[in-house]
Symmetry: C2
Subunit: 341 residues, 2 copies
């Protein structure tokens, strides 16, 4: 009896084909700082010149079960952009500007054409954010993943001048909370959303999403917004005291991550219109309001804490997605208090 | 009907408990360059001082289906060390010294005690290699992973002075190939090895591994060696022209990754004793010799290309695992030629 590795479910030739397919996508993201070649063991990246005291800011993340929706819809070319934008936002909240990205793709059976779609999305996200894709791992793991499925994670490294780090320490009662709108679920709350949409309501990915002219797949796969241009613009207008990316845990759990002692936050939930998507999920799922604000972003993708005196300056900036005031910092013990004026 | 997020299989309270459990492990790895706190969105790391022209070297990887063996054995406290050491070696081959690490842990059902074991291994690996664990993502993805399973990936970032990058460009016919021994499969070839050991031979993780006094789990879970101390010692002895980490693809596919045009390599496979583990897998699995050298490391974890004139100096270094000569660089077209003297 003879064994070849491919019989054990690992196909080195498919891996080689995959590498050929993704090479061009990867190279298209490279900035002048990239010193390595595709196929090197590690990615080489020269630290940009002209920085006084550079601090690296890094984050690693996945896309959660939004992947499941991409798999159901057979649409693999945007989930990588979700991943990059999510990671960009995670370092942006400390003031980090993206430098480079690495991705991890693990699957049951390597299908080079699907990997290429996924990497095309990663590359698009990297280019839009000025970030070089300098490394990646493609793992074929039969027995851990089913044949049709894969997981996707990515790591971003950015840089910030030490005296430009945003850390929330200057936040003080009286500061204002401004919000940037999300365009959908971004990458959080998909386990609950899928349960409501597909199991309770029995919808399919190609059905019309109620209250919209779009399919379920389109609505649920809207690409996570990168707030890099927005935050750059806002920083030109004023000093930002704190930023929170509204991911898993929602407004209720992400804002406290940046509050110093003695501060709490009040949010007026009537200061924006919660998108129909969330109302639908709350009503059809019978989800309590507090749980909704803990699981979903409720229409807010990023919040900024600014001095109240800066509001006019901030409002005058030119944004793709204009920010608006939703609350303020008060004295308290780190809680987020929701009310409706 | 009411939905709570936990009913959809995502337990935010378990996530909070997990974060409490791993905090101490994570902090124990922190070097003076770490500026962030546990719970920050991104990890902050100050670039070490005193570097003339620092280049960042990064890599992302998983542990492949070695995970499956860890799951079968219920032993989760070393797989993280495998991951770190693998990544350390991947940047080491370009001369990179580790700075920091981030991990991605994705599972079907978050069990904080298992996550803690995994992170304890990551932390141990980080400490041994002088690498700070500054970020991580724990993803609970019911429906993608089964309840008992998880996947693990990690990203390392290191640094090298630009004029100390090892890139293989100086490799020339006549150079010598020296090898550092592996201590087992490291993290490659597990899909085939598992098939042979568990399916063909019908062994269990607690059975004695034939020819050894140890269990199957012990033999298959031996921790991937980090060659950081070895390579530091070797660099003190001589200039290294090229390094290859012997991972998936074995000697046959990893050495060509660093060869410049016009070079090939001859390897005398009689110059070391292939460990019993590999002989057993080859014989019981009926795997052809060439396939063995493509799938497994065959007892060689890392190879270094050095000038032939440096051999005495290299041999005089004080190593934990002493390197030995296994071949040389010849004129050719990038192939690795195996022979037995």
């Amino acid at each position: 009896m003879s064994s070849r590795y491919s019989e054990a479910g690992v196909d080195i030739d498919a891996a080689n084909e995959a590498n050929r397919r993704i090479g061009e996508h990867v190279r298209s993201t490279w900035t002048g700082e990239v010193l390595s070649e595709v196929g090197n063991f590690g990615g080489l990246f020269r630290i940009p010149e002209g920085l006084k005291e550079p601090v690296l800011v890094s984050s690693i993340d996945g896309v959660g079960t939004k992947l499941k929706v991409a798999l159901m819809a057979g649409k693999h070319d945007t989930i990588g952009e979700d991943l990059v934008n999510h990671c960009v936002n995670d370092i942006l909240v400390q003031g980090g500007e993206p430098l480079f990205f690495l991705d991890y793709y693990a699957c049951g059976k390597l299908r080079p054409e699907i990997l290429e779609e996924v990497v095309s999305g990663i590359s698009r996200g990297c280019k839009v954010n000025g970030c070089a894709l300098i490394g990646g791992e493609t793992a074929e793991m039969p027995g851990l993943y089913s044949v049709e499925e894969y997981d996707l994670a990515g790591c971003i490294v950015g840089v910030v001048e030490r005296d430009r780090i945003i850390d929330g320490k200057q936040i003080t009662p009286g500061d204002s909370i401004w919000a940037f709108p999300s365009n959908g679920l971004h990458t959080n709350g998909y386990s609950l959303a899928r349960r409501i949409v597909f199991e309770k309501e029995g919808l399919g990915v190609d059905d019309r999403f109620p209250g919209t002219g779009r399919s379920v797949a389109e609505v649920l796969l809207d690409v996570h917004v990168s707030y890099l241009p927005e935050i750059r613009t806002m920083r030109e207008c004023t000093g930002i005291r704190g930023l929170a990316h509204i991911t898993g845990g929602g407004l209720l759990e992400n804002i406290p991550r940046i509050l110093p002692g003695g501060c709490a936050v009040t949010i007026d939930t009537s200061s924006w219109e919660v998108p129909e998507l969330f109302s639908y999920l709350g009503e059809r799922g019978g989800v309590e309001k507090k749980e909704m604000y803990r699981v979903f972003n409720m229409g807010i993708g990023m919040i900024a804490v600014i001095p109240a005196s800066s509001e006019n300056k901030v409002a005058s900036g030119k944004y793709r997605f204009s920010p608006f005031r939703i609350g303020e910092v008060v004295e308290g013990d780190g809680k987020v208090i929701l009310y409706s004026a």
